[in-house]
Amino acid sequence: MILSSLRMRVTVLAAACMLLAAVSAGAQAFPAKNKAITLIVGFSAGGSSDAGARILASGMEKVLGAKVEVLNKPGASGQIGYTMLSQAKPNGYTIGLASLPGIMVSIMDADRKAAYKKDSFQPIGLQVLDAGVLAVKADSPYQSIKDLIEDAKARPRKITVSTTGLQTGDHFSILQLQKLTGAEFAIVHFDGAGTAMTSLLGKKIDAYVGNVGDVLSQLKSGDIRILGVMDTQESPFMPGVKTFESQGISLLGGSWRGYLAPAGTPKAIVDKLSAAMKTALETEEVKSSMAKLGLQIRYMNAEEYTKIWDEYGTVVKELIPLSKNK
């Protein structure tokens, strides 16, 4: 009896030691040689989310000395990819791209029946803030955000504003703008930046909300005027264009693209990935590739990124009922 209990104790102890060793070795030796890290991108190959992820993946490969493979799992506005990520083993070998506010919408909107929650993920870091912009056609009478807001207040629901899709970052930015100013727009949902921009250029709509990366071409050709950038700082891609903040409206909007691991991934591994991300984003190669695509690097570590997560959680929850036109 004593003997067997002793043996059991030894076994347990040994097992515990091994587990401990394995855990610390896991963090130390992460990523193991010949083991690839899978980066799930819930959007199709070729889009700007995918392009940014691929640039980062090749940068991180060099820092980590392990392969980082991008796996596209498009569909349901990223939800298919997010579901897969939430169900992956939390060992650092599966990470995923997340786009805010999109992922938060999929969590907060009951209709979406997401199989994951806010705490199913462990944020690693933020890569890109593709800030939102409010644009009008170059010959539009609106010279500033104030002009537009005043007219919208005088003629509620008569000024048409486009989004690039229902419940996208653009949509939430407009809803927030309405909430902050009391103005009311006729919001028109397009699918994608292309069709919305055509309608703006053809004067079918009065104003356009989209991301910096989508309007550079038309800004450069002089066809449109940007009334404001939804960020705390000017965009390096459009110097001289005022922010909303400098015009007295504190509105932050756009697409925040960062990376997540499944919840339960050891902190040491998350920190290692986060640090590798930072190093990769500081290399000239990554910087210039991203600048060419009009993607603005905005690195945040796991803690700072988690804060943005929580903030968006609150904002989105509040705006969800409004976003459904109920």
Partner: protein, 503 residues
């Protein structure tokens, strides 16, 4: 004159040995992507972008654009020979193209398709050279309201697609519209007919649906017959007969214009162009009853239109910096990666590159024609493989293709489901074309209508406030009434040929 000088300079760039090679490689890869079912032009182009990473910008863009329009050539091949569309824009070609192959006219169908593609591509490129400015203004006239009217016109042509029975055609049209409703409601964000599956949230994926309806259904139907390879003997001459050439002139001319114009309008896809061309041809034909039985017009028109569309879709990219279709969006990404922002100033800042690329469209289309005509013989040899082996190989490719488009096993099941559905529909003599038409046009029609309503806050008069939209709606009404008179001769002064459709 300066346009011609610019173009001449472009040719000096495009004809340099290096760029010639890139155009050739792009055309060859494009054809290959087109031949493989499931891998569409957008995914294919995206997958091949890394190949061009080390090339100089001009070479990279020449190669990628060649891949892009090359896919339109390749997609035809499997549609005609195997009844499996290589990509969505060639789906409609299955109907008459494959029938022609069964009659031993595969060679002629492939030749006409290649020639039509060539002319369509050339026409759109010439339009890009000379008319880019004014044409772009036309595209800007299309807002949600005009788009809706255009879709209504497209669907009103559906009656022309009816086979023997108008009732069955209408039923299939409605079924297509119902299937088009699957997915997130575009305004309220509520899921419709998704049965709790998030894979259905974006709607049915079009590629596996048509692969099932056309390809799998056909394999099932053939498999029930004895598997003797009787078809393979009748490959037929590559030379189209005089009559076939004569019949193709009109469809190719109309397809070139239609495809180019639709290419200008952001949101129109290559498949819409080929389907609308098919229904237009059937409407214009003196013998619409031949459609579905192997009419050369049903190959010539759509194949011309989808190529004209592919090259035409580059016009808004070059002139406005707006990607008109998902594939062009991928292409635009490639421009950006090379440090080029597409738009009018690109003509000013990098004239050598822009005109070099435009000149390469001419070069590339010639290469594709040269590449495809002799290869027709090679493709036709595929038919000599015994059916029992061929079917298994096609099936394997179809499963890979359905999976590969979005690496989703769900799409494989969708393909199988629609294969069985298509088989059943064929058995009961339901026409597939009206269903595919509404499935393609339905979502755009719904979205543009609801977008118009968002603009007017629910006031329907907006639909008639635009002269362009009002004109399109009136034309649709005329089409509908004239078709109805043909079908139900008793209700009006029926024309002499009314019986052929209404039987």
């Amino acid at each position: 004159m300066s346009v011609l000088q610019d173009l001449l300079m472009g040719f000096s760039v495009a004809l340099s040995p290096g760029n010639l090679l890139y155009a050739f490689l792009g055309s060859a890869f494009g054809t290959l992507i087109g031949v493989l079912p499931g891998i569409g032009p957008a995914a294919g182009t995206a997958l091949l972008i890394p190949l061009t990473a080390r090339l100089p910008p001009t070479g990279a863009i020449i190669m990628l654009t060649a891949i892009f329009y090359g896919t339109q050539y390749g997609g035809t091949i499997t549609s005609i020979l195997l009844n499996v569309p290589g990509e969505a824009a060639s789906a409609i070609t299955c109907i008459d193209g494959h029938k022609m192959a069964l009659k031993g006219r595969a060679g002629a169908a492939l030749s006409i398709a290649a020639i039509g593609s060539f002319i369509g591509g050339l026409f759109a490129t010439i339009a890009l050279v000379f008319l880019a400015g004014p044409l772009t203004k036309v595209a800007l006239e299309f807002g949600p309201v005009e788009f809706f009217a255009l879709m209504v016109l497209g669907i009103s042509l559906l009656m022309g697609l009816a086979g023997k029975s108008m009732v069955k055609a209408l039923m299939m049209g409605i079924l297509g519209l119902i299937l088009a409703m699957v997915g997130m409601d575009p305004v309220r964000g509520a899921p419709r007919f998704t049965f709790g599956r998030m894979e259905l949230m974006d709607g049915l994926n079009f590629v596996p649906v048509i692969m099932g309806l056309f390809g799998l259904a056909d394999i099932l139907e053939n498999a029930e017959e004895s598997l003797s390879s009787t078809v393979s003997a009748k490959v037929g001459s590559l030379m189209p007969s005089k009559q076939e050439i004569k019949d193709s002139v009109g469809p190719i001319a109309r397809g070139s214009v239609l495809g180019t114009v639709l290419g200008l309008i952001p949101g129109m896809t290559g498949s819409m162009a080929s389907f609308l061309s098919y229904s237009t041809e059937k409407k214009a034909s003196k013998h619409p009853e031949k459609f579905g039985q192997g009419a050369i017009e049903g190959v010539a028109g759509p194949e011309t239109a989808n190529n004209a569309h592919a090259n035409g879709a580059l016009i808004p990219l070059f002139t406005l910096g707006i990607p008109a279709s998902p594939t062009v969006a991928v292409l635009m990404g490639a421009f950006l990666m090379n440090g080029l922002i597409p738009g009018p100033f690109l003509f000013r800042e990098q004239p050598e590159l822009v005109w070099g690329v435009i000149a390469s469209f001419f070069v590339g289309n010639v290469i594709l024609l040269v590449l495809n005509l002799p290869l027709v013989g090679v493709w036709v040899k595929m038919l000599k493989i015994p059916y029992s082996i061929l079917f298994a190989v096609i099936l394997a490719f179809m499963v890979i293709g359905a999976y590969g488009a979005e690496s989703s096993i769900f799409d494989v099941f969708i393909m199988l489901l629609f294969g069985i559905l298509g088989y059943a529909l064929k058995k009961f003599d339901f026409p597939l074309a009206p269903m595919i038409l509404t499935l393609i046009l339905g979502p755009t029609m719904e979205r543009s209508l609801r977008r118009s309503m968002e603009m007017s806050q629910g006031d329907f008069s907006i639909l008639f406030a635009s002269p362009l939209a009002a004109t399109l709606l009136v034309i649709s009404l005329v089409v509908l009434v004239s078709s109805a008179l043909k079908v139900f001769p008793g209700t009006g002064k029926g024309k002499s040929d009314s019986g052929s459709v209404g039987k």
